[in-house]
Symmetry: C2
């Protein structure tokens, strides 16, 4: 009945996820004084009676973000919470409540959803958050999970506060979740050919756990506070280091130098990259799903974090005119480009 | 690789939506003192620095909640916001912020999403809310929209506060959205047979608008305040009158008598029911998607609302031992049963 008279059709993949969000939300106006920060950071910041809270939401879609042939539902429930808590921590906030909504097809029995919710419950217990609501509906095809998280914050940290000469710091190590995914995908193919194969996944235990059961870096927010370090900017690494660095630089109107030899890699990532004939730097830059925190600090704070094994200084911020570069082991300077999580690719 | 060793399989349709949510969330514990009310009402209630806010979230799934063959995307964006605002108003709260997330397949061009967001923007403008975040991702099949709304509240109203002898009141009229859907479904079938048919939908304009462009009852919350009426309990009518009455009665531990001849029906609902050979009372009881407010008031407040055309007193609350009944025009007493929105039906 309703004809599409609009002949102009622009493919979503032309814009990519971030271009799409920017484009669709560019007309939205902020009217409430309780809205401190709207679209454009890891979370929105709201203020009620001088108390600031952060609000963030994420969708996980079967076949796009997860594959149930190797992702146990309990882990999936846990991970769906982590993905959101990571955004809360990236604001320097502490999560307090979440809602969880699912759309699920009839092919899932009740017992499957019980597993999923058991994972949510475990995450809620460990991270001390209350599950306060949600929605449950059917879908015609797969499973979709939508989580919204709320947190309390005293001093929020945005993506936009980095200054030239600030140090670029990352928690933990990178590339593990992506390499874990490569191993799982390979085993899935093996299983298709030979369902009786009993793979020994012990050599990949760390990277598989990074993929299937990531932890949001609750400890880092506390540690930075204990060390009396206030990051000048912060973001979580969900889409890959290069994508997140570009966000920080663009929103801070700055450039940066990132040192290839400083990117923290677990030995299992290095060995598995060799096995798969992949370049570990590329994996760390573009892999995504590590849920580590990337932040900048003033150089005067360097002594406070210097000896801490949780942190790696991987570069420093520069003037915007100097651009964003990866300084390779061979001392070449390569412009940083985002690949990130382009899930609108055709 | 991961075998399903659990042979027990309980179909989701055995539980229905509400049974499912209750079942899945029954183990969740509340730990934060900022959580005033968790799962189980139209919205969660949180308190930060003595300021109470409500939080609610809803999913809309293509093929389950909407059919794009007759739902224009702009209207869909508008409706997705309304569905959530209605829950906020049902807490006696005023919405201030929303987030909107979509999962969308590549078959949608950018222009389609622009239409969807234009509807969201229009709703945000009219209802004075800030759009502060969201997520955008691809899906393998259709379109899914997840909206989360936040509102401010001074005196929240729960489903659980109704007392025996309280009056049962509803805003507006009922059954329109469901009958609008019936007309649209019929025209879709006609269109399939003859794409050149030019249906005259003028006789159905009101009910089609109720389906395609519902309005959340912002005015009712304000009106009740102006009239100095504080409802003892309240819920919004998304699943049908009988389902919502059952929620109010169960959570208030009360019974009720609902009078068939008091149920407010628009003349277009009555005439279209006749045309479709449907019973208008059944449609009002089970149709859903009216987004009116159902609430109870103390009898002492009756004079304040008596003459107001926005309200219909449709019954009164009784002791729980007396059960929940529809008193028909013929003065039979029929137990009220929920049909509601059983979207897990096989």
């Amino acid at each position: 009945m309703i004809e599409d008279k609009n002949q102009q059709r622009t493919s979503l993949s032309e814009l990519g996820e971030f271009g799409l969000i920017d484009h669709l939300t560019k007309n939205f106006k902020i009217n409430h004084k309780s809205t401190i920060k709207g679209v454009g950071d890891d979370a929105a910041v709201l203020e009620f009676n001088n108390k600031k809270i952060v609000l963030t939401t994420d969708l996980l879609v079967e076949g796009v973000h997860f594959d149930l042939s190797y992702m146990p539902l309990k882990h999936l429930g846990y991970k769906a919470v982590m993905v959101n808590l990571s955004d809360v921590y990236a604001m320097n906030a502490n999560p307090t409540q979440i809602t969880i909504s699912i759309a699920v097809s009839n092919r899932f029995p009740l017992e499957a959803l019980e597993d999923l919710y058991a994972g949510v419950e475990t995450a809620a217990k460990i991270y001390n958050i209350d599950v306060v609501g949600g929605d449950t509906t059917s879908s015609n095809t797969g499973l979709l999970i939508s989580v919204t998280a709320i947190g309390e914050v005293d001093q929020e940290v945005y993506r936009s506060g980095a200054k030239p000469s600030d140090l670029l710091v990352v928690s933990g190590d990178l590339g593990g979740a992506y390499m874990g995914l490569q191993v799982l995908e390979r085993e899935k193919e093996v299983y298709k050919v030979n369902p009786n194969s009993q793979p020994d996944l012990t050599p990949y235990s760390y990277i598989i756990e990074r993929q299937l059961k990531p932890e949001a870096r609750k400890d880092i927010v506390k540690l930075l506070k204990d060390l009396d370090v206030k990051p000048t900017s912060m973001i979580d690494i969900s889409d890959g280091l290069s994508s997140e660095i570009i966000h920080l630089c663009k929103q801070s109107n700055a450039g940066c130098d990132l040192y290839e030899d400083k990117i923290p890699l677990d030995p299992q990532v290095i060995s598995t990259c060799e096995e798969f004939n992949l370049d570990s730097t590329t994996v760390a830059l573009n892999g995504g799903e590590d849920y580590e925190l990337l932040f900048t600090i003033s150089q005067t704070d360097f002594p406070k974090i210097k000896a801490n094994p949780n942190f790696s200084v991987i570069g420093y911020m520069k003037e915007v005119s100097e651009g964003m570069h990866l300084v390779t082991r061979g001392e070449s300077r390569i412009p940083i480009k985002a690949q990130g999580w382009k899930n609108f690719g055709d």
